[in-house]
């Protein structure tokens, strides 16, 4: 238990997360106290001869306990739960992408064996990244190299239909972030923004660091007729929840449609590679 908590605290935790990890005991105590209060009230009412005392005795504690349970499960999580949640949220690759990529590799083997080899290596790297520890922060440079491999695979399938515009030079490559923040967003951009188009579609990625914060912005072509379905909301929900588990209120993710482009923006605290963390 203690060990798990330490592994989650490899990076400086903002106050919100600290409360999140330590608050469970307080709430258990509160639960016991409120249950006692209810019991006393009900007993007093019974003694004073109120006819509705039995009803109260049944419904009020039930309602209160339900409320308590709801509040606890919604807002409070023990460290083990935080970790379990992170594991459950660890990003998954779309099966659509996996099977289409394998198919593209098969379609390339005879005509361009070397390209097919590279593609399998890229696929292997991508899967290794998906299987890595979701609790460890990674340097931006690592996430970027993963994104490039992912895009190379998509280019094998989609050719010139996929265009990418990087604007990341002003962002320090040693910045730390939770793993797989950017790659799932790229995958969304390809699936919802580029694949429905006949003409080439451009994905823009912009990263800046300012005032101790890191801003990651990704945009893709948006056609209201195709929309961004439940799959997109799920991916964003996943990233948002992982951000909350790492940074509490300290990080945000929002999305909007500006003219014919869909924009997702993540703002998170900037930490450089920490002495206790990986190098």
């Amino acid at each position: 238990m203690v060990k798990e908590r330490e592994s989650i605290r490899q990076f400086p935790l903002p106050p919100a997360s600290a409360a999140l990890l330590g608050g469970a005991r307080l709430w258990r105590r509160l639960g016991i106290v409120s249950a006692l209060v209810v019991a006393v009230v009900v007993a007093a009412a019974g003694l004073m001869g109120f006819p509705w005392a039995p009803v109260l005795a049944g419904s009020v504690p039930t309602a209160l306990l339900l409320l308590l349970w709801f509040v606890r499960s919604r807002y409070m999580q023990a460290p083990a739960m935080t970790e379990a949640r992170l594991m459950a949220l660890s990003a998954r690759i779309r099966p659509h992408f996996l099977f289409n990529s394998l198919n593209a590799v098969l379609g390339t083997i005879r005509s361009d064996p070397r390209r097919a080899e590279t593609a399998l290596e890229e696929l292997a790297e991508l899967f290794r990244a998906l299987l890595q520890d979701p609790k460890e922060l990674v340097p931006l440079s690592e996430e970027l190299s993963l994104c490039r491999k992912y895009l190379a695979l998509e280019r094998l399938r989609l050719g010139d239909r996929i265009q990418v515009n990087w604007d990341i030079n002003s962002c320090p490559p040693d910045a730390l972030m939770p793993p797989l923040m950017l790659q799932p967003l790229l995958e969304n951009a390809v699936y919802h923004g580029v694949e429905p188009l006949v003409d080439p579609g451009c994905i823009s990625i912009r990263m800046v660091s300012a005032g101790g914060m890191l801003v990651l912005e990704l945009s893709n072509p948006f056609d209201p007729r195709h929309g961004h379905g439940a799959g997109n909301r799920m991916a964003l929900g996943n990233i948002r929840e992982r951000l909350a588990l790492f940074y509490g209120q300290g990080a945000t993710l929002d999305s909007e449609t500006i003219k014919d482009r869909y924009v997702v923006r993540i703002v998170l605290p900037y930490y450089a590679t920490s002495p206790t963390g990986r190098t």
Partner: protein, 255 residues
């Protein structure tokens, strides 16, 4: 012996088409077939088929412009349409619908043996059009109607059509800017797009969302009972409503 099976390959990804053609090529000594063409979306597939017929079309589901299901809807309107075998990497909804309606499909990456079985099945007895699966997956029907102008196939977005009118042996589709000749019956269109178009006359269907109002026509035939006409957004022309349809139309407009 049968004549070679004419195959059309439809997929938006070049390597996927290459893979399918390799597989078909590999099957050459086990089944007599010839690839008549390939297309990177539904619209292109329709163009290819207008030039030369095929016995079977291997159709990817997810494609830009016109996807595989929309293409299948168009094919199901055509008398000499090829048999359809859907190909998909991963599409839970579609696969479920195919299973329920016994529609054949292949999963990518496709295995040669599985492809052979599917083609042999088509050769033995061509399957019926996958109407039931399509109805379940695309309840709103086609997104486009086809109109052939001087040998070229035009696709008119169904959402742009204000009304459809039968004249002599043709049906015309009217949009805000133009009029197109269609090659299908009004009864069939009424059936397919029941939720979008409303029959206002024996020979006319009007897009429900285009109706902006109604009035009594200032007819100049004396003695005649004056007719009700519909006003459409974006069009000066007024659409007469038949006496028989008026009660239904009026009810709908007032609802």
């Amino acid at each position: 012996m049968n004549s070679p099976l004419r195959v059309l390959v439809v997929d938006d990804e070049a390597p996927a088409r290459a893979r399918m053609k390799q597989l078909l090529d590999d099957l050459g000594d086990r089944i007599s077939l010839t690839v008549i063409g390939e297309a990177s979306d539904g619209q292109m597939a329709l163009d290819v088929l207008a030039e030369q017929p095929a016995d079977v079309a291997l159709i990817d589901i997810r494609m830009p412009r016109m996807d595989g299901l929309q293409l299948a809807l168009h094919l199901s309107q055509m008398p000499t349409a090829p048999a359809i075998i859907f190909v998909t990497a991963f599409d839970q909804y579609a696969v479920k619908a195919f299973e329920l309606t016994a529609t054949d499909y292949l999963l990518k990456p496709v295995r040669a043996d599985r492809l052979l079985t599917a083609l042999q099945k088509v050769q033995r007895h061509p399957p019926p059009s996958p109407a039931a699966a399509l109805h379940a997956l695309v309840p709103e029907g086609r997104q486009h109607l086809r109109s052939t102008v001087r040998g070229k196939v035009l696709l008119i977005p169904v959402g742009d059509i204000l009304y459809l009118r039968a004249e002599l042996k043709y049906v015309t589709a009217r949009t805000e800017t133009a009029e197109y000749l269609l090659d299908e019956s009004l009864a069939h269109l009424e059936n397919e797009f029941a939720s979008r178009f409303l029959r206002v006359h024996r020979s006319c269907l009007v897009a429900r969302n285009a109706i902006s109002g109604y009035e009594r026509d200032k007819g100049d035939t004396p003695g005649d009972e004056r007719q009700w006409v519909l006003l459409l957004a974006g069009l000066d022309e007024k659409i007469p409503v038949s006496r028989r349809q008026w009660p239904t139309v009026k009810n709908l407009l007032e609802a």
